[in-house]
């Protein structure tokens, strides 16, 4: 019996090659797409599960509600937090901080800028990274030790043994390699290459060591076995209020517990919980679910193809079904037979799809920058998962045709010389085509909107000149800062340079420094928090900011600059009155609003106070207002901000160069740099590159979305092609008659094309509102978003119609051109 089924199925497949090819191709592409998406989904949901203690490892994350600002979520915390948690929360077994630091490694006569992480000694006791060389538990016990990833070890020591070798770290002397770990796998949120003990940065971090207001490190804890992490996380805000002291500043008290709300994120949840300042970009569950949904839709389209073609061809199988019934087959046996056939087809599709996945995987992995694996032999879950997938698709696609085919009344079918079944389910087929095209059109709209928003984000005027603006980094150490002024002057003299300005923060660097200010005549308990940036005289020019009121800083007015801080040694004995320093300040428009001025002009000349770095107060006079500009990407709202000339010099230097021979100017800058810092590589990047890199992930997501949508449409078209060829074949006689009666080729083509235009047009009516709803929802997640243009929807519908026409037109033309005589002799 099984043999008979198999034989009939195979002979049918071979006999109707077009039909089989369409089905198998559609299923193969659909399954391959689905598998690729599911590999992505599996990778995205498998983050950080490989540590032995993943279940009880947590990271502290914060919600910050600065007064007058929107809520922020971030993954960085304060330096004193880790120790305080270990002391104040008995459930915390171990705690470790991770601090990012830029270092310069001198090795074999060359200098390299590297990004390193300094970690507390317990870090490697909490996270059992695989140590290829060295001892994990003691690796960072010595202050001058250093742990490298395999790639880093190879970069510096080639194939030689790295363990025990030394690397010369600029500014902190030689460090001994005490461990080599595997490179980070693609499914971890950690971005580690060079790991040093915290002691190596302790000196630099000292000012923040006891500061509860500055967030600058990741904090990880390991809870005691059996601890309910969720419950502890819920208790964290209350505990934090008691643990974090209130900051007393001359301009008012800042209650940190009111601003910062901490919570614990289990290690395994970090990747699917996007917050700011993550080591690696996270993926939200919504995004993962969206991709899983696309996978399901693609499969649905492929299944519909199968259903449609199988029922369309039912006439050809009607006689077989009837004969089987007449000789005694029960309906359930017939149903089983056809579901079996559908499964067979799906299995063939599955085998092909495995080949397709294997072919696409290297490029796909490279594109996603992940190490995705697809190995049936080593992955015990994969085989059953694939078979399961094929079963679902096979049964889903085969069930309806099976019920339809098995319902034939043999009496009627067997009577006629030709099979007497009409396209009874023609309406249902059209309904299914409508569904397919509705999905396709909605995906097209979604792709266009996602791309539109991306382009908008990438090209939106951020309020500053991102083109031709260079950031020179690496003045973290005070020794360099002393020479900075010389560098700025030297660079400003270069021909190709428009303006040079030092700054403590530059757009897109992710840093932020806020302070509480006091405006005379306002409630002293109202916290007025402004973002503060210490900048240079030409900051406004170098960034190309637009002054909307007042004036820019002026070198010729020394009063614009804050006077140097009083040396504590020279302070008057027993000085009870804290000093006051006058200075000038420029606000952005958001700050003008935050401080409650009626207009930009009204703010000019007004004064307010901000805390100085000693116990003193800066008394700042507003001299100008700049138009709002984005500090990060356009996804983040613009905070109220103030800019003053920093008395302490800067960490970065902005260099705006003239468009044109930028390369020559870069060479000049390089030369000036080398003259001043012969042992340090120039660490520079263009602002537009930096801004662009914030969108890399979004760009990839969009590309992925576009590709999978394209595949969905392709599969839908395959189905339409098959259906059109079937219909054309079936209507040969009718078309012959029409031609005999005087219809032209064009009439016939129009007739057939219209038949398939209707479902596509109806599909628009379904797709448009659905796509509108979801894309509007999606766009609302952005502070700055594009509008939904109705033309976009019309265009997607039009494109779908064109694709349908192109698919059907070929058949229509061929059938229409056939001689009516041949057509009429057909039966």
């Amino acid at each position: 019996m099984l043999k008979n089924y198999l034989m009939v199925a195979l002979r049918n497949l071979l006999k109707h090659k077009l039909y089989s090819a369409i089905n198998v191709t559609g299923l193969a592409v659909g399954l391959a797409t689905c598998v690729l998406i599911l590999l992505f989904v599996r990778n995205e949901t498998s983050y950080d599960r490989f540590f032995t203690d993943s279940d009880r490892l947590y990271q502290v994350a914060f919600k910050a509600q600065l007064p007058g600002r929107q809520v922020d979520h971030f993954a960085v915390s304060m330096l004193p937090l880790a120790a305080a948690m270990k002391e104040g929360l008995p459930e915390v077994e171990m705690a470790a901080r991770v601090v990012q630091s830029s270092i310069v490694i001198k090795h074999a006569g060359e200098s390299f800028s590297e990004s390193a992480r300094a970690v507390d000694p317990d870090f490697f006791r909490m996270f059992d990274f695989q140590f290829l060389r060295g001892d994990r538990l003691t690796a960072l016990d010595e202050p001058n030790s250093i742990v490298l990833t395999e790639s880093m070890a190879r970069k510096y020591f080639k194939d030689a043994e790295a363990l025990g070798q030394t690397l010369d770290i600029d500014g902190s002397g030689p460090a001994k390699v005490t461990g080599v770990i595997q490179d980070m796998p693609s499914n971890t949120h950690f971005d580690l290459e060079i790991i040093r003990p915290y002691a190596a940065v302790a000196q630099v971090m000292r000012p923040l060591e006891s500061n509860w207001g500055g967030v600058c490190c990741e904090t990880y804890v390991r809870l005691k076995p059996g601890t309910d992490g969720k419950a502890l996380s819920d208790r964290m805000p209350a505990w934090f209020k008691t643990a974090a002291p209130t900051l007393n500043s001359p301009t008012g008290n800042v209650v940190l517990g009111e601003i910062f709300t901490p919570r614990l994120r289990n290690l395994k949840d970090i990747h699917t919980d996007p917050v700011m300042s993550s080591m690696r970009p996270a993926t939200s569950y919504a995004e993962i679910i969206t991709f899983a949904a696309v996978a399901a839709l693609v499969l649905a389209i492929a299944s519909i193809n199968f259903m449609n073609l199988a029922t369309a061809r039912a006439t050809q199988r009607a006689r077989e079904v009837s004969v089987r019934k007449v000789v005694g087959a029960s309906r359930s046996q017939i149903i089983l037979q056809f579901i079996g056939e559908s499964l067979l087809l799906t299995l063939i599709g599955l085998v092909l799809s495995i080949a397709l996945v294997e072919l696409a995987l290297p490029a796909y992995s490279a594109f996603l920058d992940k190490k995705l694996t697809f190995n049936l032999f080593t992955d015990p879950l994969l085989g059953p998962a694939l078979i399961g997938l094929a079963l679902v698709v096979g049964v889903a696609g085969g069930a309806y045709p099976a019920f339809f085919l098995s319902s034939f009344n043999p009496a009627r079918v067997l009577k006629g010389a030709s099979s007497g079944v009409g396209g009874g389910s023609g309406r249902l087929r059209m309904a299914l085509v409508v569904v397919q095209f509705a999905i396709s059109i909605a995906l097209m709209v979604a792709t266009a909107v996602v791309y539109g928003q991306l382009l908008y984000a990438q090209n939106k005027n951020l309020g500053f000149e991102k083109e031709n603006t260079l950031v020179v980094r690496g003045f973290a150490r005070s020794a360099d800062r002393a020479r900075q002024e010389t560098l700025v002057e030297a660079l400003a003299k270069l021909d190709g340079v428009v303006a040079v300005a030092g700054s403590n923060s530059t757009p897109g660097d992710g840093s932020e420094n806020n302070t509480n200010v006091r405006l005379p005549g306002t409630d002293p308990n109202q916290m007025l928090v402004l973002r503060q940036s210490g900048v240079d005289w030409d900051f406004v020019k170098a960034l190309g900011l637009r002054m909307v009121a007042g004036r820019d800083f002026d070198r010729n007015r020394p009063a614009d600059q804050l006077p140097p801080l009083a040396d504590p040694a020279e302070a008057p004995a027993g000085g009870s009155a804290a000093p006051t320093y006058p200075g000038s300040v420029i606000l952005n428009e958001a700050a003008v609003k935050r401080l409650g001025f009626a207009s930009n002009e009204e703010a000019i000349g007004k004064q307010f106070e901000a805390p100085a770095d000693d116990d003193g107060t800066n008394k700042l006079t507003i001299i100008g207002v700049v138009a709002d500009f984005h500090f990060r990407s356009i996804h983040d709202p613009i905070p109220p901000a103030m800019f003053f000339i920093d008395r302490d010099r800067f960490s970065d230097v902005l260099v705006r160069v003239k468009p044109g021979d930028v390369q020559a100017t870069l060479r000049d800058i390089e030369r000036v740099w080398r003259d001043m810092f012969p042992n340090r590589p120039l660490n520079r990047e263009f602002l537009d590159d930096r801004i662009q890199s914030q969108y890399i992930r979004e760009a990839k997501t969009s590309q992925m979305f576009a590709t999978f949508s394209g595949l969905a449409i392709l599969i839908a078209c395959l189905g339409l092609f098959g259906l059109a060829s079937f219909t054309a074949e079936r209507r040969t006689k009718e078309i012959g008659l029409r031609k005999v009666l005087g219809a032209s080729v064009l009439d016939i083509v129009r007739l057939l094309v219209w038949q398939f235009s209707k479902p596509v047009l109806i599909a628009n009516l379904i797709a448009w509102p659905v796509a509108w709803y979801f894309m509007d929802l999606w766009l609302n997640g952005f502070t700055f978003r594009i509008g939904l243009n109705p033309l976009l929807f019309v265009a997607a519908g039009g494109l779908a119609l064109l694709i349908a026409w192109a698919t059907v037109g070929l058949h229509a033309a061929r059938v229409a051109q056939a001689k009516p005589v041949t057509a009429l002799r057909y039966e």
Partner: protein, 226 residues
């Protein structure tokens, strides 16, 4: 073998109700060879479909082997049908994708018969209709007469008690038609009850009894002169 009592079959469309069979009473005894004749649309096919259990009557009784089957459901009818009835059609209705052998074997596949026995029985049936040498051909490679002989083999291979033939010679030339009729007569002689619908008076003469149907009613029954 079968007895139809006041059998009515009405077809309903949205507007009209058509009565295909109107109070038909027919009794066929075991071993009979009955021919049903009548003009197109007289209800012959409806009658044969009900007798073959491919369709159910609107009202009336259908006794088959002493069992009233008119109210039976599809599953039960399928079971009785497969054990008792063989079919022969005007258009042969062989499955194009199967060989001659496989087409005949199909009739045994839904019975629990071991493969070896199936093979023997199919070969025997094919020999009986003189088509054994063509067992691995596909239906399209055969002439109409040969195809109908395969169909006969398929109809009898499961050894049904009753054979229903719906214009078995309608698509055949007279030589092939006569050949088919001779085979049916032989089968009848071996004890198989046969009910045959035909337009052909000469072929109806092979039967032991002719029933004339007109507008859904039996108008005449005459025993063939022996």
């Amino acid at each position: 073998m079968l007895k139809l009592v006041d059998l009515v079959k009405a077809y309903r469309t949205e507007e009209v109700e058509t009565t295909a069979l109107n109070s038909v009473n027919i009794h066929v005894r075991d071993g009979e060879f009955v021919a049903i004749m009548g003009p197109s649309g007289c209800g012959k096919s409806s009658l044969l479909n009900i007798v073959g259990m491919l369709d159910t009557p609107t009202s009336g009784q259908y006794w088959f082997n002493g069992e009233e089957v008119s109210k039976y459901g599809e599953r039960k009818l399928a079971d009785i049908r497969k054990k008792n009835i063989g079919f022969i059609f005007q258009s042969f209705n062989l499955i194009d994708e199967l060989t001659v052998f496989e087409n005949v074997e199909l009739a045994l596949l839904y019975h629990d018969i071991p493969a070896r026995e199936r093979k023997e029985r199919v070969k025997a049936a094919l020999e009986k209709v003189n088509i054994g040498h063509r067992e691995s051909h596909l239906p399209q490679q055969l002439s109409g007469g040969q195809q109908q002989r395969v169909a006969i083999a398929r109809a009898v291979v499961a050894k049904p008690k009753m054979l229903l033939a719906d214009e078995p010679t309608g698509n055949l030339d007279s030589a092939n038609g006569d050949e088919v009729m001779r085979m049916l007569t032989d089968l009848n002689a071996e004890g198989t009850t046969i009910v045959m619908v035909t337009h052909s008076m000469p072929h109806a003469q092979y039967a032991t009894r002719i029933i004339n149907l007109f507008d859904g009613q039996v108008v005449a029954e005459n025993l063939r002169a022996a």
